[in-house]
């Protein structure tokens, strides 16, 4: 691998979750009945007039400021012409040579703890396209002689963020996408759900001999709908290109489609004519010229960004870098952490619960952290009850599982499941005495020096108590009586 260097750039599309579409007042809502959020503007009826959504412009300026872009004093919308029925106008309103945000960068934290700086080329505003179903909606794909189109998504505000070809490995590309997603989520501009398509990503990848400055022929990969898919697709494509070059073949500049099931990228088109979108300025929309006062006002609304937050968690709260990284990766975890700490729980304990036990359970259940029923009070109660010995660590995990299912209060679940540990010395002492009486042989050997038998005896106490004994106290009481 070291003989070859990989060069990766990403183009990400982000749907803004404004209330209405980019150029008309139709609701911007995922999952509605087909063609119910459409009007003459987003259906491209003749004579209709698109007018930009001020909130969408505000949000892209916010994104640009967070990425350190220059906000262009003047930018234009252009028509991008193409023949594809997913845009009823036969063009998409986009931006061309004068985007709103120019330049910038994102500091990316890699899994090994090092950081890298990925340049941003540009961030521009456009509109999303409609959704096409090939064949009938009920799924007759093979005899498809027609396509069905739902224009609810046509005209939804879409931000395109183009990175410089600054990434050198699939892992770095994945880290960039994670950081971008966390940043957009912190900015509160999009719900960034990759599985629903509100965050999408295409990748450009090429390889070149290590030490070379010239770029190799690049290939564009599409259709990756998770960060994991992105990483897998880039690994596959890197291997494919290196193998081809080592076999003396050349790389064809093309678009390839990631096939998740096959775990491979596949060429999308055999012969491709260089496409001419005939961009020209959208005559219906006057130029954008954001006033500097407005830009400064938007700058004032920037929240703490993931990178600053990670640094604060490490320095002020003493969290380990990898814990801070997982915590800040998504806003639901960050919010739960912050709110639990705010009601008095100890930060490190909260971070452990949120990034380990809870994250593990959510992952198993395939639940998005944003849809979890776990509230700050739940986490704080669990930490408190484990700390004062009321429940065991294992018991707390059972409680958490049930909180996820029911959302019930922690103490209620503890009682319902009889998870309270016997920590009362009197009650536990009786069980301990009983076990000592029942196990004379083990007691004899322990007294003779076989220290490991203490574990066995603690186990017997736990068993006799029906699992409710506090094991730490049981051990103390046993040692006290047998030494």
């Amino acid at each position: 691998m070291s003989e070859w260097e990989t060069v990766i750039g990403l183009e990400c599309h982000v749907e803004l979750d404004t209330r209405t579409k980019m150029f008309c007042g139709c609701p911007n809502e995922f999952g509605a009945e087909p063609n119910t959020h459409v009007c003459p503007v987003c259906l491209g009826h003749p004579g209709s007039l698109p007018v930009p959504n001020e909130e969408a412009i505000r949000r892209i300026v916010k994104i640009g400021l967070a990425l350190g872009s220059e906000i262009a004093p003047r930018s234009l919308f252009h028509r991008k012409n193409y023949f594809y029925p997913d845009m009823p106008k036969n063009y998409q309103i986009s931006q061309f040579d004068l985007p709103i945000c120019v330049g910038g960068h994102l500091e990316v934290e890699l899994p090994d703890g090092t950081t890298s700086r990925v340049g941003i080329t540009r961030v521009h505003m456009e509109e999303d396209t409609g959704k096409t179903t090939h064949g009938s909606a009920s799924g007759r794909i093979h005899d498809a002689d027609s396509a069905l189109i739902d224009y609810n998504r046509a005209g939804v505000p879409l931000v395109e963020c183009v990175s410089e070809p600054d990434m050198r490995s699939p892992e770095e590309a994945a880290a960039y996408l994670r950081e971008l997603r966390a940043t957009l989520e912190a900015l509160d501009v999009s719900d960034v759900r990759m599985e629903e398509g509100s965050l999408r990503c295409d990748a450009n990848i090429s390889v070149r001999p290590s030490g070379s400055d010239a770029l190799g022929t690049k290939v564009e990969i599409k259709n990756m709908n998770s960060i994991r898919s992105l990483e897998r697709a880039l690994h596959f494509e890197r291997e494919r290109q290196v193998a081809a070059l080592e076999a003396g073949e050349s790389i064809v500049q093309e678009t390839r489609h990631w096939d998740e099931d096959a775990g491979a990228t596949k060429s999308m088109r055999s012969k491709e004519e260089a496409f001419d979108y005939r961009y020209f300025p959208e005559p219906d929309i006057p130029p954008l010229a954001p006033a500097s006062g407005w830009i400064e006002e938007i700058r004032g609304t920037l929240p703490e960004l993931p990178r600053a937050r990670r640094a604060r968690y490490e320095s002020d709260m003493g969290l380990r870098p990898e814990v801070a990284r997982v915590l800040v990766a998504n806003r639901a975890s960050t919010d739960l952490f912050e709110r639990t700490v705010a009601i008095g729980a100890e930060p490190k304990a909260v971070a452990n619960w949120v990034t380990q036990d809870l994250a593990g359970l959510l992952n198993e259940a395939g639940t998005d952290a944003r849809d979890s029923r776990v509230a700050p009070e739940h986490v704080a109660d669990l930490i408190r009850l484990v700390a004062d010995g009321t429940i065991s660590g294992a018991g707390a995990k059972q409680v958490l599982e049930e909180v996820l299912e029911t959302g019930d209060e922690v103490e209620m679940i503890v009682d319902r499941r009889s998870l309270r540990q016997v920590s009362d010395e009197g009650a536990l002492g009786e069980i301990v005495d009983m076990v000592i009486a029942e196990q004379p042989e083990a007691v004899e050997k322990l007294r003779a020096g076989k220290q490991e038998l203490i574990g066995f005896l603690v186990g017997q106490v736990m068993k006799s108590s029906g699992g409710s004994a506090n094991p730490k106290l049981a051990r103390e009481l046993l040692l006290e009586r047998l030494s």
């Binding site: 009945e33 001020e54 023949f83 396509a147």
Partner: protein
């Protein structure tokens, strides 16, 4: 003098199949239109920057407030064909968009 134009390329971009006669007619007509447009360049002085807009306005926005959409029936009423609440169009052939 009409401006020379590559009719074949323009026809390909517009997905139009033209007969040789149509091509010749359109080559002349489009050339004359371009010739006419080129006169603007003659009239514009050096201190007039090129623009795509007739009026000097900027930042025309609308507030992010929902307005009624068309009814589902009205939306589909102009569709040549519809099925399952969607616009039905001929099979899409990838052309490199």
């Amino acid at each position: 003098m009409p401006v020379e134009i590559d009719v074949d390329r323009v026809a390909r971009l517009a997905r139009l199949e033209l007969t040789p006669e149509e091509k010749e007619r359109l080559r002349l007509q489009l050339g004359l239109i371009l010739e006419h447009a080129a006169k603007v360049g003659e009239a514009a002085a050096d201190d007039v920057p090129p623009t795509a807009y007739a009026i000097a306005r900027a930042n025309v926005f609308r507030p992010d407030v929902p307005e009624p959409s068309l009814t589902h029936e009205a939306a589909l009423s102009n569709a040549p064909e519809a099925e399952e609440g969607r616009f039905k169009v001929p099979r899409i052939v990838e052309t490199g968009s």
